[in-house]
């Protein structure tokens, strides 16, 4: 039955709960807002409709300045994160994304990663995408070096890290495996 489908439920639940709620709030608040002007009230109604439409449509960034709000709703979170290890002159540390602002984290690579499917970097799946990803990373290493005083990075190692959950069980740990290494072009 479709109502057992989370997607259908997602699309039904919001209008079902929200529309009567908004009508009730509007009924209570309209006297308070008397004199605000019809245009403003219509704009507020359009705003609510657009927010609801973006949510039900599930179109994420395409709906900007609206969005789909479904963070932390999956009961089965992805089991790994990507770690970018910057290897400089003998030292290793997490890649400093502040140096490549306005990119804020490795999530900027969500799009190239999605091209490569869940496992990312597995070149047999899509060599062209893997090459593109490496080329982007190389460009970021160069920008990182340009914006950093001190010795340039030698390379960036990309690791896929998995954490055993539940953590409270004995023997659970973080496991990281290198999946790619992008060399700097610096001399």
């Amino acid at each position: 039955m479709p109502f057992h489908d989370p997607v259908i439920l997602f699309q039904v639940l919001h209008p079902l709960l929200l529309v009567p709620g908004l009508i009730w709030i509007g009924y209570r608040y309209l006297p308070l807002l008397a004199g605000a002007g019809r245009v403003r009230v219509y704009l507020l109604m359009a705003f609510c409709a657009a927010a609801l439409g973006a949510q039900v449509g599930g179109i994420h960034s395409q709906a900007y300045p609206f969005a789909t709000w479904r963070m932390y709703s999956t009961p089965d979170p992805r089991g790994h994160v990507w770690r970018f290890v910057a290897v400089g002159d003998g030292a290793e540390e997490d890649f400093n994304w502040a140096r490549v602002a306005p990119i804020r984290s490795h999530r900027a690579f969500a799009m190239p990663f999605s091209v490569l499917a869940d496992d990312g970097f597995e070149q047999e799946k899509d060599p062209e995408a893997a090459e593109r990803l490496e080329s982007l990373l190389r460009a970021l290493i160069q920008i990182h070096d340009e914006r950093t005083e001190g010795p340039p990075l030698r390379h960036v190692r990309v690791e896929r890290c998995r954490l055993d959950v539940p953590l409270w069980e004995e023997g659970s740990a973080v496991h990281c495996e290198p999946v790619a290494m992008v060399e700097s072009r610096a001399p």
Partner: protein, 308 residues
């Protein structure tokens, strides 16, 4: 009811705060020219900004354009915060500026983050209102003196509309979780999984509290219980506009929730915390009264000592 006593001063407090938060956000992102050096293919204009033609972005993402944009944006934000000029022009211009700024940030983020949406919506509702009728340069110059007084509803509108918009964002998150995750998301190890993954990611704050908590089964149970309670309050968020008692309980859950996500997931919507304090309490009206009382005292003191 929320803001049923609010006047132009309360709206002025919201205007100053909203634009001041944007000024901080822009200053924290300087120099925006860094965007010019990034691979162009990592930028994807989001949503409505994608309607702007490609040549626009080619020009906009140049270093010189970004320098000019930064300067103009800061001038517009300071003018809007100060209530300078005709606000009916300055306000919408400042809003368009922050829309472009926020779109630039989100366009390069790859992952579409949700911070600053509440602030963006509040800015919109302030920008389309006469928000510079008090606590503003425009007012202090006597720019509005010949105008008849406006109805109070026009000043309450942006406060109420912003509160509604912010409550909607919480509602949409909570109801999605119920619709998609169902009971399983609370009963399973989904929350420990989310906490662990977010803690493993390298971030600016790098709090590791989750790893300590997740090592103890009783604490994990409490975290899951907190997750359920927070979700219930998120779903009920619009009720915070209607019932004062519920509003206080809601704030008592949602505000600590934001600090908890900072410590356990390295995610902090500090802009929302500021807005919660302004939009779901009497704070703007109290500031309005406090400023009004201060002015009356000032006038009284001046009147009693005319020679000074």
């Amino acid at each position: 009811m929320l803001h049923n006593q609010a006047g132009p001063g309360a709206l002025g407090v919201l205007r100053i705060t909203v634009f001041a938060v944007w000024i901080l956000a822009v200053l924290g992102s300087l120099p925006l020219t860094l965007a010019a050096g990034l691979p162009r293919e990592l930028f994807e204009a989001p949503g409505v900004l994608a309607l702007l033609p490609e040549p626009f972005w080619e020009v906009f993402l140049r270093e010189t354009t970004l320098v000019a944009f930064t300067a103009l944006l800061l001038v517009a934000l300071v003018a809007a915060a100060a209530g300078a000029g005709p606000f009916s022009i300055v306000g919408p211009l400042a809003f368009l500026g922050v829309l472009l700024f926020d779109g630039l940030q989100k366009g390069f983020a790859g992952y579409f983050n949700h911070n600053q949406f509440g602030l963006l919506y509040a800015t919109f509702f302030v920008a389309i209102s006469p928000a510079a009728d008090a606590l503003s340069l425009e007012r202090s110059r006597g720019g509005q003196s010949s105008r008849p007084p406006r109805p109070p509803g026009v000043y309450r509108f942006p406060l109420v509309a912003s509160a509604l918009a912010l409550s909607l964002t919480y509602f949409l998150v909570g109801s999605s979780r119920v619709a998609i995750g169902g009971w399983e998301i609370f009963a399973s190890d989904a929350l420990p999984g989310h906490l662990a993954l977010r803690t493993m990611e390298h971030t600016a704050t790098n709090f590791r509290l989750s790893f300590l908590l997740l090592a103890h089964a009783p604490l994990v149970f409490l975290l899951k219980a907190g997750f359920l309670v927070t979700t219930v309050f998120e779903v009920l968020s619009p009720l915070a506009l209607l019932r004062r008692g519920f509003r206080l309980a809601w704030l008592g859950v949602i505000v600590p929730f934001h600090f908890a996500t900072l410590l356990t997931m390295n995610i902090f919507f500090w802009e929302n915390v500021v807005l919660l304090a302004l939009l779901f309490t009497d704070l703007p009206r109290r500031v309005e009264e406090w400023v009004g009382a201060g002015r009356r005292r000032g006038r009284g003191a001046t009147g009693s000592r005319p020679g000074q």
